[in-house]
């Protein structure tokens, strides 16, 4: 097992190099440079100043040299300095955005799991019943509804008209003056709408997946056996069927690890949440290469690790895979 993990880890190195190289090249293929965004159509910027900026950012070097310089920085765990006007280290910019993004995404995944698993199970055992049809309708409604539209409706309705939830941000203006547990409540109060909106959209995939697995499992012979030996239906479903139906969930969880740091631009923009999605989007618009690469590297790393975790978790959970 250990050897397997080590081998997989080693294989990640060439993969990462490949990913970063392709990303680096593709990003530079997009027309425009960071210096353009800062100087174009600005009557007060001269040509010399543009050259100075290019020189500072090493933009006149050949692309492969630029990539090399970037890799040398990266192996020292330095993501470099942002090309944006604030010239801050990319590491700081990412670190200050990560916690809230991870918090919202974890809460939303938890909410999805907590709802999707029971919905999937009940829909499967009562296949074609009222609950099945009703829940299908509901989750597909959530899936097809644009999240920004739902968000705005909820904000206008629950936030402005009834004043039940704060409209934007992740904490109140007087946050500093609140006591400890009130601060926690304040943040949860602010996160309720965003987490609901993002979970509602993600419910469909997961619950349908759960339902399909369950349907498959309850047709297996061992379920028939369990029923035949007279077990109560509750035990048949929860002990014998559910465990097997949950197995693929591990894969999905593994795949959602990179999603933990990803954010949605539209979503964050509407709720004014300072998250990764907006950071990345602004980075792309500014052609802020170090920032884009920083986010991509972390994303790529997490994807690879997530895949590895899923495989390992699978092996632990399922003896049949372990034996192979």
């Amino acid at each position: 097992m250990l050897a397997y993990i080590c081998r997989r880890l080693l294989m990640m190195i060439p993969l990462l190099i490949g990913i970063t190289l392709i990303s680096f090249v593709v990003i530079h293929l997009a027309p425009g440079e960071p210096t353009d965004i800062q100087t174009d159509l600005n009557p007060k910027a001269s040509a010399e100043m543009r050259e100075r900026l290019r020189d500072r950012y090493n933009l006149d070097e050949p692309l492969m040299v630029q990539y090399g310089l970037w890799v040398v920085q990266l192996v020292q765990l330095d993501f470099g300095e942002s090309f944006a006007l604030d010239h801050r280290p990319v590491r700081d910019k990412i670190l200050e955005r990560l916690p809230v993004t991870i918090l919202i995404n974890s809460l939303s995944i938890l909410a999805i799991l907590a709802l999707a698993v029971p919905i999937g199970i009940i829909a499967a055992i009562r296949q074609g019943g009222l609950f099945d049809r009703g829940s299908t309708l509901l989750v597909f409604l959530g899936f097809s509804m644009p999240s920004f539209w739902l968000a705005l409706l909820l904000m206008d309705w629950l936030g402005v008209r009834y004043g039940l939830f704060p409209v934007v941000g992740i904490r109140s203006l007087g946050y500093e003056y609140l006591s400890g547990w009130r601060q926690v409540l304040d943040v949860l109060h602010h996160l309720a709408l965003p987490v609901f909106v993002s979970a509602f959209g993600g419910l469909a995939g997961f619950s349908r997946y759960m339902r399909a697995n369950m349907l498959e499992v309850i047709r297996q012979d061992y379920i028939l056996t369990a029923r035949a030996k007279g077990l109560p239906e509750r035990l048949v479903i929860l002990r014998h069927a559910l465990r097997n139906a949950l197995l693929p969930v591990i894969t999905i969880l593994g795949l959602s690890v990179p999603g933990l740091i990803g954010g949605s631009v539209i979503f964050e923009t509407i709720f004014a949440i300072p998250g990764m999605g907006k950071l990345f989007f602004d980075g792309v618009m500014m052609r802020d290469y170090p920032l884009i690469m920083g986010v991509l590297v972390i994303g790529a790393g997490l994807t690879l690790i997530g895949n590895l975790l899923a495989d390992v978790g699978y092996a632990i959970a399922d003896p049949r895979i372990r034996q192979k």
Partner: protein
Amino acid sequence: MPLRAFNPFFVILILAAGLLAGCDQAPPASVPTQGITVPAFGDTFIEASIGEPSNLLPVLSSDSASSEINGLVYSGLIRYNRDLRLEGELAESWEVSDDGLIMTFHLRHGVVWHDGAPFTSADVLFTYQMYIDPQVPTSYAEDFRQVADLQTPDPWTVRVTYKQPYAPALESWGTPIHPRHLLEGVDVTKSPLSRMPIGTGPYRFIEWQSGEKLVLEANSDYYEGAPYIRRVVYRIIPDSTTQFLELLSGGLDFMGLTPLQYSKRTDTPAFQRSFNKYRYLSFSYSYLGYNLRKPLFQDQRLRQAISYAINKQEIVDGVLLGMGQVATGPYKPDTWVYNPNIRRYDYNPEQARALLEEAGWFDLDHDGVRERGEEKLSFTIVTNQGNDLRVRSAEILQRRLKEVGIDVQIRVVEWATFLKEFIFPGNFDATILGWSGGPEPDQYNIWHSSKTGPRDLNFIHYKNSEVDALLERGRRTFDQQERKQIYDRFQEILAEEQPYTFLYVGEALPVVAARFRGIEPSPAGIRYNFIRWYVAADEQKYAR
């Protein structure tokens, strides 16, 4: 100030902030009914910014979120007052020598930086040196490169000598003065001041939570007296709809509205009780510019015909919902430099058809599109993504041009690509863009024939030797009467030749929470006297 880039983000920000404010051509929609109230200190003013400020060192920043905050934290030597005339800020007075070459500023005594250090002429000298330092990546060096010499004979006097008389130079001394004692000998791009500025302005910096908010507090030592409003909070809310919802729920005290929000969502009694609305023309205009390198557009009659065929009032009504005016030239209609006596192109399709036929364009095959020989009268308008007003303008004028037999396609492209692939290489037929500017009428960078290089602003390649001469003379002349004559002629020529079809001048549409008093709309907008705004003691909302 010459004109600033009309980046899509700027557009939104300018609309939102009403920063480059203009005159109150129309009276405010509702005049605040002010009882007799006594100015009191205290309360918090909360506004929203679409974007996070990039950098709070003015030398490095060029976005309007940063400049708005920097405007409260820093001061320049001079500034525009309520009537858009220059007045002293850190300078008590100044003189310009008769030949226009030497400017002498007499500085205020007793001004201190927010950290307590005294402000002297050495700070001015340092600021100038920093702006022209090749190591400092600033976008604003150009004005200071015209300076031949800057001397500080004593701590309260600054004497600037120019290579040539340069009228826009005076305005450039409104540039924020930076603290020498904190920046000398350090790499400015690494300076902590970019995240916690120290200036001489009416508000001092308190804290900045990235992506969330930025807090300023009144500077009780401010040399014009402490501002009444104790705190200013900028909340970063990147979506205009969300900002509006937050305004409605009471979380914001100020917002620049879109025409749609202003006209459709502010007439409820609740809104009118809580907010005062203002509107005035902004210092910006939109235009349809023709690429004059294309043979098609070199025919003046065609350009004039297009100008006649476009119903500009219809665009103002349809796109701005009437919150704006038809533009006739590069200057705002209520400024001293604006020339009303020029050729106008009111909607006149008959005139347009006549001009097209005079130029040889006929629709002989009756397919709705005119042709001359083999050539079809067809072109593409390219504009940038992220500005719906421009796209909608394009759609409206596309229909009008079709009616006179001109086929128009519309192409919308992301900003960086738009500039790099279309505008600068001259790879376009016509474009809808905008310029924003200020009270200074110098237009050299946009219309002079020397500014047609690969990245210059005269990207339509307009060349006219009389205009060149006028622009050169205008920026060397200080006398306003004389400048007026020069720029009047300049506007006449542009109106005759129509290198742009000028479309519209938008309006700034700010709303302010009703508890704030002391707001006096003027040609400079409403924000110029912010330090005199106040909330009466019994109406204050925030104790901290």
